[in-house]
């Protein structure tokens, strides 16, 4: 009996070790597979990439993108259209938020990082520490939209100073009524909803409105899910909140968008105003960051080229504010310049 039992135990332990080794083997195998995946086409390091190289018909490989949930749908659409042309290229797009995306990007885990704000200095350092060189592309414009309840008939336009009164860190617990924002507004309780601190939208808004990135009152309903903000504003007559333009474009009757007076009169958020640069300062560029090292892979090069060349059509389909022709030319130029840089 005892003898038998210890033999079984031994077998069991051996089996457990076997499983562990197997798992480690798989992990290691994948790690190796992940880095030099498409070996067949090593780009010539000779610094002569023809700017209008014909797209190779037989592209394959995997491209990994992650980052902002605001930019995510656009990159996803670009990925879909690209995969329709090159069915052997596999593109994944995660939505971890701008900050979460950069964290992975600077660890070298992703090829592309979507961002609704420029990369922060701390993130640049992180990337440098890990030897990740990157290029920034502006892919689309967004008009950050401030909304109120559709039944709100006393406000159509807010100045930046009024927005600051509503959202400043000092207003926490102090500014709780619309009549404190402006004496002409009625006695109605103010109820706030907005994106959480992981969001690039939050960073941009607080920077422009409160003068300091990340400075905001904290007593508002924070959610990374913009639908929750829409619902919060929709459900409260005194509600107000802010999010990216495409959420308003998709829900134009659920909430009412306010005009913003950035110093030169009230301007309503719209594709035209953002494109013309009139919707200032709340129109903002949205970015895709690309790892330079990944440019050695033809599928990554071709995907970025496709993305930038088609950014206007993509933006219109996915309800974003497209780049102007000039901005698009700038983005393409910086891409070709990055290709020309050896390394």
């Amino acid at each position: 009996m005892r003898h038998r039992l210890s033999r079984k135990l031994l077998l069991f332990v051996l089996a457990a070790i076997g499983i562990a080794v197997l798992a480690a083997g798989c992990g290691g195998g994948d790690g190796e597979e992940g880095t030099p995946a498409p070996a067949p086409a090593p780009a010539d390091p000779g610094a002569s990439p023809p700017p209008s190289a014909p797209a190779p018909a037989d592209l394959s490989g995997r491209i990994e993108a992650d980052g902002s949930s605001t930019v995510g749908p656009l990159t996803t659409l670009a990925a879909e259209e690209f995969q329709a042309l090159h069915s052997d290229v596999q593109i994944t797009v995660g939505i971890s938020g701008s900050g979460g995306g950069f964290e992975r990007f600077c660890r070298g885990e992703t090829d592309l990082s979507n961002a609704s704000r420029p990369i922060k200095d701390s993130e640049v350092e992180e990337c440098q520490a890990n030897g990740i060189d990157f290029v920034e592309f502006r892919v689309v414009t967004d008009a950050l939209t401030v909304v109120v309840n559709p039944e709100n008939d006393f406000v159509d336009c807010l100045t930046l100073a009024q927005l600051n009164t509503i959202w400043a860190p000092e207003s926490e617990g102090m500014i709780t009524n619309w009549n404190q924002v402006d004496p002409s507004f009625p006695d109605l309780e103010l109820s706030l909803a907005g994106p959480g601190t992981d969001s690039g939208t939050f960073d941009y808004f607080t920077d422009e409105v409160n003068g300091d990135e990340g400075a905001s009152r904290a007593d508002y309903q924070a959610s990374e899910d913009d639908n929750v903000i829409v619902q919060a504003v929709q459900g409260d007559r005194g509600g107000t909140g802010y999010f990216g333009f495409s959420y308003f474009a998709e829900n134009p009757t659920a909430v009412k968008a306010l005009e913003i007076d950035g110093g030169s009169g009230c301007v309503a958020p719209s594709v035209e105003a953002a494109l013309a640069g009139d919707y200032s300062p709340l129109s903002r560029p949205l970015f895709v960051y690309a790892k330079v090292e990944s440019f050695t892979r033809p599928e990554v090069r071709e995907f970025i080229r496709f993305y930038l060349n088609n950014t206007q059509t993509l933006a219109e389909t996915a309800l974003y504010v497209p780049l102007s022709a000039e901005q698009q030319a700038d983005a393409i130029a910086s891409f070709e310049a990055a290709l020309a840089t050896p390394g």
């Binding site: 009996m1 038998r4 039992l5 079984k8 069991f12 798992a23 480690a24 798989c26 992990g27 290691g28 195998g29 994948d30 790690g31 597979e33 992940g34 995997r62 990994e64 992650d66 949930s69 995510g72 749908p73 656009l74 996803t76 659409l77 990925a79 879909e80 995969q83 596999q90 593109i91 994944t92 797009v93 995660g94 939505i95 971890s96 885990e109 899910d225 913009d226 639908n227 829409v230 495409s246 959420y247 474009a249 998709e250 829900n251 389909t317 996915a318």
Partner: protein, 293 residues
Amino acid sequence: MSDATAPLTAAGVDRTRIRRGRAFHAFLLFSVAIGFVLLITLLVDVAIDGIPQLTWHFLTSAPSTLPERAGLRVAILGSIFLGLLLIAFTVPIGVATAIYLEEYANRERWYNKALEVNIQNLAAVPSIVYGILGLAFLVRGLEMGRVLLAGALILTLLVLPTVIVASREAIRAVPDGIRQGSLALGATQWQTIWRQVLPAAIPGIATGSILALARAIGETAPLLLVGALTFVSFNPTLLGPFTAIPIQIFQWVSRPQAEFKLLAAGAIIVLLIILLAMNSFAVWLRNRHTREY
């Protein structure tokens, strides 16, 4: 007067007791009704939105930014692959552990006691904690990446305690007379377990495993952390990126377009159908294979 009061009081006492009985009965019905009404409301609400979505296109298309193109194929396959891997991992390990604890372990030993307490505690650990473990240990520690296998292993850890507990119950329920009889006839302990105890315990083990699997198929939180919240438009592979039905629902619900909420309702129905099918299979298995002693 006094004639009238006496029977009245007697009847009064009786009536109070009857009333109490009825009140309690009503309370029980009310309790049942709360759960039932809520569930029916949810189901009807989801069905109204979701059933029109269940088209062939919806079941066979890849996800998309545009609601009219989007489908559930990749998520369905992801969930099925996760389920198959989960069975392959949990059942052998879970049943082996249960056999050891029930048939071999000397319960007086401290390490066996520690093992038992640990397994019971693990069953109560929130699923998100397993997700963090998966991210730190599998995805980054072993550099597995955000792949299907990592997701399956995390779900395995998550439901393993449940499978072990269910298998132990099933093995314990096999009458000792069977073991004694087998041993008395000269069978070894292993022969007894393999030929007598396990076959008798199979219905219980299978039911427990399938219920655990059903729980895992509906899990979202741990998969979010190992990277399933991703647009993946190609079929999942063992060491490739993946998504699953609950994650797809989560993602669709957070999209601005109203059409995506309808698609999410459709996905919920698909998930419900899969879960119901699994649970019914568990019930059928139990009824079919239960032996009476």
